[in-house]
């Protein structure tokens, strides 16, 4: 699945550029999903930014040109950018005229999967990440060159150059894969002032351990191992008379894995005495289960911006939070996740100002077995 173990060079690279990604941003459209919005963006004078950013990433890979076979989508979806940088790519996908659509992204991504590329690079934002995810799921390592307006997903590199250099290190067999979140918000609702974010799933991404770990010290827990330590910490502290509401995400669901339980990766599950009480519950079900019983909420930091409530876990509503109480909230996060916030506080947006206010201030984040960090929530 991940193109061989560490140390084995990987030789094929796919590239899909969403040429319109990011165009809505400069003209204040909060996204560029859909034909009509794209037309409005163009009418407002928006210019494409994705091609230039894709090329910035490609230039990092150029020194490997002779060792790597590059597959791209047609025309301005990758081929043009690759040729302009000096690559001679193999073009996949059928010829198309006129404007590209999300369907093109999906079908080309499927084609890349069929061709067995070692890594699929895409240039885009959350919307493009969703399209790619729909097409390849976890069957192919993927890395995003960030060019979109909305960039909540954890599959995008911090900038195009980093995307390029990380791709190189991955192709050289020097880094492995880990999972990154695919998040998106409903653009239409957002334009009307409502924010509705969802966690759509996870893509396999090259894992840059250098963010958290000194390459010279190998014994530090890797990103893959950190959630295990967190999970055992939570499990060893579990009380018999308490319900545990387990929010979405890989860090929280590691607890379910260690308990040998079924779980809903993108939903909210409830456990009691190490057994499942309910799977994939909605808010009203949750309120019904908790009633007046003692309960704790376990949530992780979702997406790149640091939300703990109000993004992707809206089932845990303000009413549920109030019922459970602030002191019974357990936040779990890997150190790399915290460092990636660059000092910005964790965010809450439950839709209830009073509950948000209650959650603000310093909270404890479990980062490993017997390890926690005190961090600000705003």
């Amino acid at each position: 699945m991940n193109g061989g173990s560490l140390g084995t060079p990987r030789r094929t690279l796919g590239l899909i550029v969403n040429p319109t990604a990011g165009m809505g941003g400069s003209v204040g459209l909060k996204g560029t999903d859909g034909e009509e919005i794209l037309a409005r963006a163009r009418a407002l004078g928006a210019a494409p930014i994705a091609p230039a950013r894709a090329m910035e990433a490609l230039r990092e890979i150029l020194p490997m040109r002779d060792e790597v076979e590059l597959f791209t989508s047609q025309g301005d979806m990758g081929e043009d950018e690759a040729r302009a940088c000096g690559f001679e790519p193999m073009v996949v996908g059928s010829a198309r005229s006129g404007r590209t659509t999300a369907d093109d992204t999906r079908s080309d991504a499927r084609e890349m999967l069929r061709r067995g590329v070692s890594l699929l690079l895409f240039a885009g934002g959350d919307g493009t990440a969703r399209d790619i995810h729909e097409a390849v799921r976890d069957r192919l390592p993927v890395l995003g060159i960030p060019t979109g307006v909305k960039m909540h997903s954890g599959v995008l590199a911090i900038n195009p150059r980093t995307a390029g250099s990380l791709a190189v290190r991955f192709l050289q067999g020097k880094v492995g894969v880990c999972r990154g979140e695919v998040m998106d918000i409903d653009e239409e609702a957002f334009r009307h002032g409502r924010l509705s974010a969802r966690l759509y799933g996870y893509l396999n991404i090259p894992c840059d351990r250098r963010m958290v770990q000194n390459v010279k010290i190998g014994s530090v827990a890797t990103e893959r191992e950190a959630p295990e330590g967190i999970a055992w910490h939570i499990i060893d502290g579990m009380e018999d008379d308490c319900l545990y509401i387990v929010g979405p995400g890989t860090t929280t669901k590691a607890i379910m894995e260690k308990l040998g339980l079924e779980y809903t990766l993108l939903g909210v599950d409830v456990i009691h005495r190490g057994e499942i009480e309910a799977l994939d519950v909605n808010e009203s079900r949750l309120m019904g289960i908790v009633r007046g019983d003692k309960a704790k909420i376990i949530v992780s930091v979702i997406g790149g911006q640091g939300f703990i409530f109000g993004r992707g876990n809206q089932q845990i509503s303000p009413q549920v939070i109030r019922l459970v109480g602030r002191e019974n909230i357990i936040i779990v996060a890997t150190e790399s996740k915290i460092v990636s916030l660059k000092g910005s506080p964790l965010l809450v947006d439950t839709g209830d100002g009073a509950v948000d206010g209650m959650l603000r201030g310093y909270m404890r984040l479990v980062t490993g077995y017997g390890k926690s960090i005190i961090y600000k929530v705003s």
Partner: protein, 516 residues
């Protein structure tokens, strides 16, 4: 400034296990005389049969000149502290240790001592230990010291054990199982109490000041707090001016406070653990007190405590009873021994000589010079392209300063690992980036302690300026560095791969296909 031309020696020296030949010997040891053989029998018979090796260990077999040549070559391939401007290893306080002090260690009065000698026959060294403890009490404000721990982390671990024992005696150990530290304290302030069985809570630094927020501490303390273990100035060179309030909050919660004084080189005669309210502290004698770093060897983590905790110190403690010095084993709540015997006393002898040569005023001068040097370096660094100082709103740094090469990395692709490898091409030691996690991205952390002259600092900073300029012109030079060194760039990912790394020759052969 003109940079020095430099190229390291290259010997392409094999590993010693690949050298020599079967039967080659450095010393031929003659067999035991007949009289001895008769008296004691076969030496092997003294080893229980189950413990005997089936075959002899595969030791290298070499003659004396070959051994000497091999290790001299290795030493010449090493960019040692004494041959370079060793400013880059922040948190390490790479100061000059006067060579004359080595003479003291070679005096037979010291070198011929045996740790099992009766105390009446070692009054001289006990006096030095006792007098040095008196210096340490004055420097820290603590009441009693032990020099048993063999290094900094060992000193911190000793303090964690004292905290553990204290709560055990109070009958509260079951409840008090959490130690608070800060993310910019030395990582041993988290790792050592964790090893002693505590859970660890770290305070994340504020994004503006780089310091832990007092409100964060209030959120951390509870009836489960056993204590706090904090470095100050932290490993950013920034001093927490509210440290006494931190200590008070932990005390109110029922915890003890241990001051990690690894960064004390900036504090001699300026600030003390006692006035900040701490219950205990530790110093790295091999850093600020001018004894060479032990490389996991003969170092010393000096632990000092207040009178109330003197009963908990490791035994024995050297005391003076009015007529002579003796070893006091009578400590009611002693944590036991931190290690065999009395610690690495060669470090104490050097440190004693160093303090004597400086006096109180001289010590203060050491710290003032260290602070001045750091802030001079900061001024000189300004204008280096792609370099920024972390937490610029903090005007002053004490013993060290944390910079970031994030901008250089974004602009050129050259990151701090590349620059660290590139500096050695200019004849200075690879620098220390910083402890992990990298809260400050692409960090480096120079510490220009009092050893270094203005010209040394100018020269070191000029190297950084030069490498940054070069990175903008041709990033490949730094990315493929080093170019003038004994070895070229190595694949660091390999060091991280359990399938390929090897700590012993046997493991190397096993993992690389030649094993048994």
């Amino acid at each position: 400034m003109r940079l020095r031309r430099y190229h390291a020696e290259v010997w392409n020296e094999p590993v010693i296990t690949e050298m020599g030949r079967s039967g080659e010997r450095g010393i031929r040891i003659s067999g035991a005389g007949e009289e001895i053989r008769e008296a004691v029998g076969d030496a092997r018979s003294y080893i229980p049969s189950k413990m005997r090796r089936g075959r002899p260990p595969r030791l290298p077999e070499l003659s004396q000149p070959h051994v000497l040549r091999h290790f001299l070559r290795l030493s010449r391939q090493t960019l040692g502290m004494a041959v370079n401007i060793d400013i880059g290893l922040g948190t390490c306080t790479m100061k000059y240790s006067p060579i004359v002090n080595e003479d003291l260690l070679r005096l037979p009065e010291f070198a011929d001592l045996h740790p099992l000698q009766g105390e009446e026959t070692v009054q001289g060294i006990l006096e030095i230990v006792h007098r040095f403890a008196a210096f340490m009490k004055e420097i820290s404000g603590m009441d009693e010291f032990t020099f048993q721990p063999g290094g900094g982390a060992h000193g911190i671990y000793t303090n964690a054990c004292i905290i553990r024992k204290y709560h055990e005696v109070q009958g509260e150990l079951g409840q008090r199982d959490e130690i608070i530290t800060t993310l910019f304290s030395h990582p041993a302030d988290a790792a050592c109490p964790a090893t002693a069985g505590f859970k660890i809570i770290s305070l994340y630094p504020d994004g503006e000041t780089g310091l832990p927020d007092i409100e964060a501490l209030k959120a951390a303390v509870s009836e489960r707090t056993a204590g706090a273990m904090i470095t100050n100035p932290e490993d950013t060179g920034i001093f927490n001016p509210r440290i006494d309030e931190f200590v008070e909050i932990v005390h109110e919660a029922g915890g003890l406070c241990a001051y990690d004084q690894a960064n004390s080189n900036a504090l001699f005669g300026i600030a003390r653990a006692r006035e900040a309210g701490f219950d205990m502290c530790h110093f790295n004698i091999h850093k600020a007190f001018s004894s060479p770093h032990g490389c996991m060897g003969p170092a010393c983590g000096a632990v000092g405590v207040r009178e109330e905790l003197a009963e908990y110190l490791p035994v024995p403690v050297v005391v003076f009873d009015g007529s002579g010095y003796r070893l006091d084993y009578d400590r009611r709540h002693s944590i036991g021994r931190a290690r065999q015997f009395h610690g690495n006393l060669e470090a104490i002898v050097r440190a004693y000589a160093w303090v004597m040569s400086l006096g109180a005023e001289g010590l203060r001068k050491v710290s003032e010079t260290s602070i001045l040097n750091t802030n001079y370096l900061i001024r000189r660094m300004s204008g280096a392209r792609g370099v920024s100082m972390a937490y610029p709103k903090q005007a002053v740094r004490l013993d060290q300063v944390r910079f970031s090469l994030q901008e250089l990395k974004e602009d050129t692709g050259v990151g701090t690992d590349d620059v660290s490898r590139r500096v050695v091409d200019f004849g200075v030691q690879e620098y220390f980036t910083s402890h992990h996690p990298w809260v400050v991205p692409e960090p480096f952390l120079p510490e220009p302690c009092e050893t270094y002259s203005k010209e040394d600092i100018d020269r070191w900073v000029a190297i950084i300026h030069r490498i940054c300029e070069e990175a903008y012109a041709d990033p490949e030079i730094a990315k493929t560095a080093p170019h003038s060194q004994t070895i070229s760039k190595i694949d660091q990912e390999m060091l991280n791969d359990p399938a390929r790394w090897a700590m012993t020759w046997r493991a190397y052969e096993r993992k690389h296909g030649k094993g048994e």
